[in-house]
Point group: C2
Amino acid sequence: MSSVRKIAELAGVSITTVSRALNNDPAVKPQTSKKVLRVASRVGYVPSIGRRITTNIGFAYTQERTLTHPFDSAVMEGVVRGLDEHRFDLVIINVQRDKRPDESHAQFFLRKGLRGVILRTMAATRHVCCTIADSEFPHVVISEQFDAPNVNFIDGDSRHDSARAVEYLISLGHRRIAFAMHTIPDRDHLDRFEGYREALAKHQISLDEEIVFRYPFTLAGGGTVMEMLMSRGDRPTAIFLADPLLGVGAVKKAHEMGVRIPDELSVIGFDDTDMRHAVHPTLTAVCQNANQLGYEASRWLVRAVTGATTEPLRKTIPTFFEINQSTAPPPTRLRRPANRGEQAIDGTTALEQYGKTQGLGSRGVGRDANIRSARP
Amino acid sequence: MSSVRKIAELAGVSITTVSRALNNDPAVKPQTSKKVLRVASRVGYVPSIGRRITTNIGFAYTQERTLTHPFDSAVMEGVVRGLDEHRFDLVIINVQRDKRPDESHAQFFLRKGLRGVILRTMAATRHVCCTIADSEFPHVVISEQFDAPNVNFIDGDSRHDSARAVEYLISLGHRRIAFAMHTIPDRDHLDRFEGYREALAKHQISLDEEIVFRYPFTLAGGGTVMEMLMSRGDRPTAIFLADPLLGVGAVKKAHEMGVRIPDELSVIGFDDTDMRHAVHPTLTAVCQNANQLGYEASRWLVRAVTGATTEPLRKTIPTFFEINQSTAPPPTRLRRPANRGEQAIDGTTALEQYGKTQGLGSRGVGRDANIRSARP
DNA sequence: CTGAAAGCGCTTACAG
DNA sequence: CTGAAAGCGCTTACAG
């Protein structure tokens, strides 16, 4: 509903200056431009076509696009579903390609006619999200977390359940546990790494950087991880892979190499959707609902831009830990005490014991009776 | 570049009438409206914001959205990649939700400010694509084929290779071969079914509708297919699943049920991306590059709307047939003559023989030396 | 059912 | 570096 006229009024300048600021005219004094853009973002300005108003929400990456990753496609489906409720559309935009070097992000989004933007980011470009938040342009960051109070975000906290997953391996008797993550980490992968470190530290197992693998999150990447893992002299008895494609690729390669899961090697994966069920044995995994992240993000965003809410979005959705068939005690010859003063026990019994400590019967450990984490 | 003014001139009406026609004002005589809209589509009208012009291409389903299917996410990635070259953006629109009942598709797209549209459709809604083509609105249909000369499309012809795949099974000695496809078929699935029928007919094997399965294209759907298949008294020795998720889900369930692939059951899948490599054994599969379909579709479309080309798009990309480890001769007790007058032979030999008839050495049959189909 | 005219939204040459 | 004014794009009340 806000026109250049209204912004001009609020910012105390002429409509000419507003138009120039929005279009990044270098003639405008930076200070004036900044003021205008802030007002424009705040009142939710969108260039209108005649009397009509656009209903476009942007989907932007601060780094490379990863559209085909199961996480992204699930997020996008959820986003589109959330937009349905207010009849908004999703525009996939390319910031690197289209943002002019001398233009701010908010300016760029306004120029594109966007009402708001959903951001995907990685650790190295988190600061871009803060800049956007500072400009007051309506936004939600998916899958990162921020201390700055003006950044809207929604994420899944996988650290707690990652630690829990690794502790589960330790409880089964594993002491030498490998870890795999994406080459370029995002918050999620770092969280999972942090959970892994935490669990090891808690049980006085020292972290061996030699068995922390960083490969692209593809099936092939997972295959390479498995090859690297099994080629070692001091072979780990378990691995936690912090990404669905890494997990599936690793299991596939294990089959090819004749590595029996879970008899010879226990594998814990991570799942954003249902990929843990694609392989055999079904992966024990830390899971999050990526579709829900997208849905809640976009639902909040349309409500924010339509004025239906003025609350910020700062939400963390719990993940859950699901025990399936890819984990078991380590092979007997490699078994060691699980904890100080506690002898490692026969595989099935260990599994049953874990079930019992969780308040489940011995039959409760398995796919149909998932152990879901409580928040700490 | 075309304004209401120009359209008015070309259509021989006032700009008022043009505006009304574009906005679906019921006061306009249907005949006048149709004429105006045709001119608007033809000259590539887009409502402009001030002096700027939108660069949005729509992505629309004529039926339900299937965004998370590997085919769709690969297509979308390719589409976005193709748009990069001319700095266009992709808007995911929802026709069912937003198109007013009394509004034409072209009207709807124009109102949304789209320069062109990429269409995904199923067999039951093919006619919508024809209507859109008749309105002369810039479009490409992905993965269907049309006789009408004004419909632009790009598809992969999977019929030929589907027949080839089934013939390969027959050459291995299989006579009882099941088939699985999505509940609501699109052109692709029907093509694959047609290929299956063709191959059976060619070898005088009668088609048994009892072993033609129709389930949703999900992992769970594939699992159900496998359960249904194995619960039969007259168990088939092979199955061709016309969808990647059906294939992966079926293999997973086979593992769970203890069905050995390919010893007890040969499985041929279909792959749009690289999912055949996600399972063990790697699926013998008919494959197409969905990413390329998307890329070529959007690349042509932006060239068409920017006037860089005036050629129509009517392209069929060949699929290819890749032999991997999920296929072998049927179990001995079930083996029957592969063809009239030709005795079935020992498994390995049959495989080698097929390799030889294809001009490959006996080592040539396998993942690293794919048999790619020539067009007929 | 159609159009001339009024009027808002936006941008841009011109003036300061 | 900024603004008043001209002017295009579009829509809509008003007239016929």
